[in-house]
Every structure is written in C-alpha cells, then in structure tokens.
C-alpha cells in the first residue's frame, strides 16, 4: 500500500518537473523572452537590457532554468504590467472562483452519471438504454458555447431567471453563497450537460461489462437478489474505471470551462486566460498555463490514488 502511494507520488512529481520545463520552453517562445514576460510588452529596449543584466537573463539557459524554479518555489509568478499587480496575487481570487465552479460541476456530474450509467447498464439492449445512448451521443456533440448561449437566451433573456454575467458580484473578497448559486447555476448546468454525456456513457459501459462477468452469475447462483448484486458486487468494480475517467476528464472540463466562463463573464481562471491572450499579457498567460497543468496532474494523481485504494489487487503489485 505504502509502496503504491510512493510510486504514484514519484511518478506525478516527475510529470510536474517535465511540465514546468515545458512551460519554461513556452515562456521562452514569447516574443522577447522572459524579460518581456516579467516587464510586459511595453518595455523599452534599454529597460529590457537593464533587467536582463540585473536578473541575469543574459546568463546561460540552464542558469535561467534554475532561477525559474527558484522563483516558482517562492511563489513568484511574475508581474503583470497591464493589470499592475503581481501575478500570484491576481490568480488567487480567480482560482477560487474557478475551483468552486469546477468542483460543483464534477460532483453533480458524477452523481448524475452514476445514476444514468446504472440505468444504461441494467437495461442494456432495451429501449431505455438505447434512449440514454442516443441522448449521450447528442449532448456530447453539443459545443459548449452553443449550449451556454442557448441557456442564456432562454433563462436569462427570455425568462429572466438568472443573471447573464458574474463580474461584479464575484469579484468581491467574500461573495455570498447566494451570489455563487445565482451566478453558477447556468454555467454549471452547461458543463454538467456535456460532462455527464461522456461520463455516464463510460460508466454505463463499465456496468454492462461487469454484469456480463462470471462472478455475477455466481452471485445469482447463490440466490442473491438483483439489487444486492448491483450495489454490493457490480458497483465496486465498475466505479474503478469511472474514477480513472473522472481524472482523465479534467482537461476537458478546463477546455469547456474557458469557453463557459467567457460566455458568462464568470471571473475565473479561464476567463482571465482569455482576456490575457487577447491583450497579450504574457506573464499572466504563462502563470495560468502552469497552474492549469498542475491542477490536471494533481487531479490525475488523486484519481489514481483513489483507484489504488479501491482495488485490492493494486496493493500487491
């Protein structure tokens, strides 16, 4: 057990190192290099030269790489001249909003997916499963910006139930729960609709596969009732691929998240990234790429660990 945890941690640490290196490379691709990353695009040539000298940016690449790590581990993520704030300070607020958003979406999606997946697996081959299948296919193909736009059209414009924009309320230091719910309702619905489509399909397949396995037949031969079989036998085994899938779906949630945040002007990381890209605010952009990458790796690690705990076989590798 301990060995499994340590191997997973080591593996993820390695991934993080490679990730940071990749982003370092990306940072150097920005016009002007890291100096501009720190000073911003409007810097003059002389101030760039000055900064280069002072920060040792004319030093060899490997040294810069080490400095990069030094800065990161001290929480220094650069400075945005466009917004006139250190990036780190800027990110925290937005990150909080994004986390609330995504975690709510994941929790609701998982709950719905388990329910739908169970139905789909149990009724496999018959019309309820086929209907769910068709709906899954349909919703999976819906682009997030279209869904978001339609939701705004129906529920914010035609029926003014929810606000269409979240900028002001959620920029406050401690927004109220009510504010969160009001502003999150439509965005979370959007992301949930799309995530449930793929998650429930995956889970449905896992359930169906488990139901066809020999140990289910053995349980029937013992006289165990069907609900018991479903919840005490099948669920344990079918949840494992679901957990993996949830871990793997983080990148997609971020992707959808950026779009949804931009539609609703929801002040989260995705929204910030979008605006920074449009205004070419590279320090912020790079920092966000890094954070998102880290969150994804951590998400995968958590999913792996949960899986390892659920699987008795994993402890004995």
């Amino acid at each position: 057990m301990i060995r499994m945890i340590t191997t997973r941690l080591a593996s993820s640490s390695l991934s993080i190192v490679i990730l940071v290196t990749l982003v370092f490379v990306m940072a150097h691709l920005t016009p002007g290099g890291p100096a501009y990353s720190i000073l911003g695009m409007k810097a003059t040539a002389s101030s760039v030269a000055q900064l280069n000298a002072r920060l040792g940016l004319d030093a060899p690449l490997w040294k810069q790489y080490a400095i990069w790590w030094w800065h990161l581990l001290h929480g220094q993520l650069g400075y945005s001249y466009l917004l006139n704030r250190p990036v780190g300070q800027l990110l925290w607020q937005y990150e909080r909003n994004t986390l609330v958003f995504y975690i709510s979406a994941i929790v609701i999606s998982t709950a719905l997916s388990i329910g739908l997946g169970l139905l789909q697996g149990v009724y496999y081959g018959r019309w309820p499963a086929k209907l769910i299948s068709a709906l899954q296919l349909g919703f999976y193909a819906l682009p997030p910006f279209f869904v978001a736009a339609m939701l705004v059209l129906w529920f914010a414009v035609q029926l003014p139930l929810f606000p269409a924009s979240g900028i002001t309320d959620l920029r406050a230091a401690h927004p109220s729960i009510g504010a969160y719910i009001a502003h999150l309702a439509l965005p979370v619905t959007t992301i949930t609709l799309l995530t449930v489509a793929s998650l429930s399909r995956y889970f449905g397949e896992a359930v169906r596969e488990e139901l066809g396995k020999d140990y289910v037949r053995t349980a029937m031969a013992k006289g165990v009732s069907f609900p018991s079989i479903l919840f005490r036998h099948v669920l344990r085994n079918a949840l494992r691929p679901l957990v993996t899938m949830i871990g793997l779906s983080f990148p997609y949630i971020f992707t959808g998240g950026v779009i949804v945040e931009s539609v609703f002007n929801y002040p989260g990381l995705g929204w910030l990234m979008w605006r920074s890209a449009l205004s070419q605010d590279y320090p912020v952009l790079i920092a966000i790429v890094l954070i998102i990458g880290l969150l994804t790796v951590i998400g995968n690690l958590l999913a792996d660990l949960v899986n390892g705990l659920l699987d008795p076989r994993a402890s004995y590798e």
Partner: protein, 290 residues
C-alpha cells in the same frame, strides 16, 4: 469451451414494447454520413451557389428577423446571415480538415515509433506525451494563438500540432498490445522483419481503430477552430466563421436574436454530431475486430 451464457434472472423488465427498438435500429453510420454530406455541401458547395455577398452592409435591414429577402435574417450590421453562415462554413472547413489530417499523420508516426522502438525510447516518449496531455489542448491553443499572427496557414499548423497526442498514445498502446500477439510472433518466426510486420500485420489490425479515431479527430478539429474563433483567437475579421458568428450574436444577446444564435450553433453541432455518429457507426460495424 463452455459458451458464454448470461443469465437474465432478476433483471427488471423494460417498460413498454419493442417498437422503439425498430427506430433505434436505423443505422448510426448512415445517419452520420448523411449529416456529414450535408455539412460538406454547406461548407464547400453552397457558398458558390448563393449569390449575395456576405460582407455587404445593409444598414436599414439591421437585425431583421428571417424573411424572404434575408432567409436567415440579418445581423447588427445588416449583413445577410445566410451568406455569412456559408462563408463561415467554408472558412471553418478549409482550416479544420487539413489540420485534422496533419494531426492524424503526426500522431500515428509518433505512436508507431514509440510502440515499435526499444523500451527506453518508449518510456521517454510516453513520459513526454503524458506531460503534454496534462495541458488541456484548448489552453495550449489559446496560448500559442496569442503569440502568432493568425492566418489560414498558421491556424492549420496550430490546430494540427496540438491535437495529435491523444492519437499518439492510442496508437502506441495498440501497437504494444498487438506486438505480443501470437500471430505477430508466428510472422517473426516465419522470417518477417520489423517493417514487414508493421506493414502487413500491425497496421491491418489497427486500421479500424485508426479510422474511427481519425473520424473523431475531424470533429475535434472543427470544435477547436470554432472555439478559438469564438474567443476571438481564430479567424480574424473581416473573415467570419461559425464560432465568431456566435460570439458576435452573444454580444447583443439581450436583444433576443435567436436567428443569429441558432444557425451557427446548430451547424457546429451538426458537424460534431456527424463525426460522432460516423465514428460510432463504424465502430459498431467493425466491432472490435480483435
């Protein structure tokens, strides 16, 4: 030896009858191909059949709902929405399709190399791949889109060079899995060299998986381009695409311009649906073919 017999005891009976089954037995593949054909027509043929100029401004018809003169209405500048849609379709397909092809080729090349090469090369390549995959593709796209000047070529390269990792990982896993199978071992024993085996056996067995995934990748490519355009980082004005049309409509959503929102959204949806259905249909047809 014993046949696989799955007992159905205790499984709840399905409500209603089996007439629904008849409907759902329609071929998924046919539906997918039909929609794909429609989209291709809209994107590549229709623009040349519909006369009105998409960029002509008619201020006195601004924000007009659909009518005979403007079959899909007009936008806030008075431009013909249908013409815009067709132009946008062309712009979308002309970038997304070559990008998907590029990603397809790169992904297969990378995956085959990792799958057939020595163990150390495989480990290194896969580690790199895992790290790349940790970054959501749209995020990377947004980043690089902010760096370069955006035109058709640069967009094709951008889109093509971002979405191949998923395919690469799949190809590598498949290659590794098929490599150890008995019929490959038998072929080696018969005197087949590495390239012969890859060509004659591996590709043949993997072909269905590759085609299905390639189909899905086309959908992904169209989605990515539309998303970028939606965020303002894809197609550049005065050019339009379905994504950018949606974005402009969103700006004035308070005015309830449903004819500006539904068509572009439905078209992107249609394209993605076509890709999904076709891929799904092919998968059903070919089964697992293992």
């Amino acid at each position: 030896m014993s046949e696989q017999i799955i007992p159905a005891q205790g499984l709840p009976a399905a409500p209603l009858g089996s007439w629904v089954a008849w409907i759902t037995q329609r071929s998924t593949l046919v539906a997918g191909l039909a929609i794909a054909g429609l989209i291709l027509f809209i994107g590549f043929v229709a623009p040349f059949l519909y006369p009105p100029d998409p960029f002509a401004i008619h201020p006195d018809h601004a924000l007009q709902a659909p009518s005979w003169a403007f079959p899909l209405g007009a936008d806030e500048l008075g431009r013909d929405e249908l013409a815009l849609l067709l132009s946008g379709g062309f712009a979308t397909l002309v970038v997304a399709l070559p990008a998907a092809a590029l990603a397809f080729i790169v992904g297969i090349a990378y995956g085959l190399t990792a799958g057939l090469g020595p163990a150390w090369a495989d480990r290194v390549m896969m580690r790199l791949l895992d790290a790349i995959l940790a970054l959501p593709s749209l995020i990377i796209l947004i980043f690089f889109a902010s760096l370069v000047t955006l035109n058709d070529t640069s967009l094709i390269l951008l889109l093509g060079l971002i979405s191949w990792p998923g395919l690469a990982r799949l190809v590598r896993n498949e290659t590794r899995a098929q490599r150890g199978r008995d019929f490959v071992l038998a072929a080696e024993q018969l005197g087949g060299g590495r390239f012969y085996i890859a060509r004659m056996h591996l590709v043949r067995v993997m072909a269905p998986v590759l085609v299905v995934n390639g189909t899905f990748m086309i959908g992904d490519s169209i989605f990515a381009f539309s998303a970028l355009s939606f965020l303002g980082l894809g197609v550049q004005p005065p050019q339009v695409s379905w994504g950018s049309l949606l974005e402009s409509a969103l700006d004035i959503i308070a005015l309830d311009p449903w004819w500006l929102i539904l068509p572009p959204g439905l078209l992107v949806f249609g394209a993605l649906l076509a890709a999904s259905l076709t891929g799904q249909g092919l998968l059903q047809r070919w089964g697992n073919g293992r």
